[in-house]
Amino acid sequence: MQSDTADEAHGSHWHGGDVPRAHGTPAARDGHDMSEALQALASLDTDRSKLASSYDRTRPTTVIWVAMVYGLLTLTYWMIPQAYLNRFHLPWNPAWIVFALLAVSVLLACVAMTLTAHAQGIAVRWMPPAPVTADRRYRIVLAAHFAVNFIPPILALVVGYVTDAWWSALAVAAFGAAINGLATYWELDAMVRTLKRRTIPQQDTEAPHGIG
């Protein structure tokens, strides 16, 4: 949709140097300034909210990517005791399996970040947008994710030490994927909520009639 007006094209809609300020009484001018300032701040809220929908749109694929990466990482932890005890009786050093799994996980994470950034049109960044990091709800979700993040690796190490059954590998990988996928879903939910939140009150469009 092309909504650019001639004023906007010249970039001098409100206080531009070639456009005089509002005339009238000081009170009326001050009211005009406030209206302009509110309008400007509201436009920032609207744009931020509009672009936040790209996070919302890519949420399912992001969650799937994260689940895959963490599932593979949990499998890597399960593999550590197997490699240490050389349970598969491999002719070569079994630590290579661990390194290979780790490398694939990192590669998958890089591919996921690149594809997500490409889909969103926003470059990869390590920290979420500033309003999000300042949000209490997001920080709580992040802290919870950090805490539960340790459960799948510990569980995988213990299970991997106890058994080398294939289903145990599958179970811990699925557990790691589910825990982190769910936590990522909540993180993205908190992020989108924060980015869509208005920072200024909506302007009252109703004209005061002064009757009653």
């Binding site: 092309q2 531009g16 400007a40 744009d47």
Partner: protein, 106 residues
């Protein structure tokens, strides 16, 4: 580096609607692709380019042209705020908030 509580300074260059909105998006989302910026603002290629050029001339933004997908001939432009632009934008927003708060208090 932009501080947490910037000094309110009204900036005529940034205050133009499209430029203010460009700076707002870049301040929040970091580096954004040109087409995403244009579509979010709902303006034409020419209008978006013109305002980006004005901001770039004042060293408020930086334009990076990178090769398209699969090494195609066209270049994709990525836009980001410079530290100077970030500071100017945050000071301008502080000035806008001051105007609103001043009026509300009055």
């Amino acid at each position: 580096m932009a501080s947490d509580s910037p000094e309110p300074v009204f900036n005529e260059v940034i205050h133009a609607p499209v430029r203010l909105r460009i700076c707002g998006l870049l301040d929040t989302y970091g580096t954004v692709r040109f087409d995403v910026l244009r579509d979010t603002l709902g303006v034409s290629d020419a209008t978006c380019s013109k305002h980006l050029k004005t901001l770039a001339d004042h060293d408020y933004i930086r334009l990076d042209k990178k090769a398209g997908d699969g090494g195609k001939a066209y270049k994709v432009t990525w836009v980001r705020l410079t530290s100077e632009g970030k500071a100017a934008f945050q000071s301008h927003v502080a000035a806008l908030r001051q105007i609103v708060a001043g009026q509300a208090a009055g």
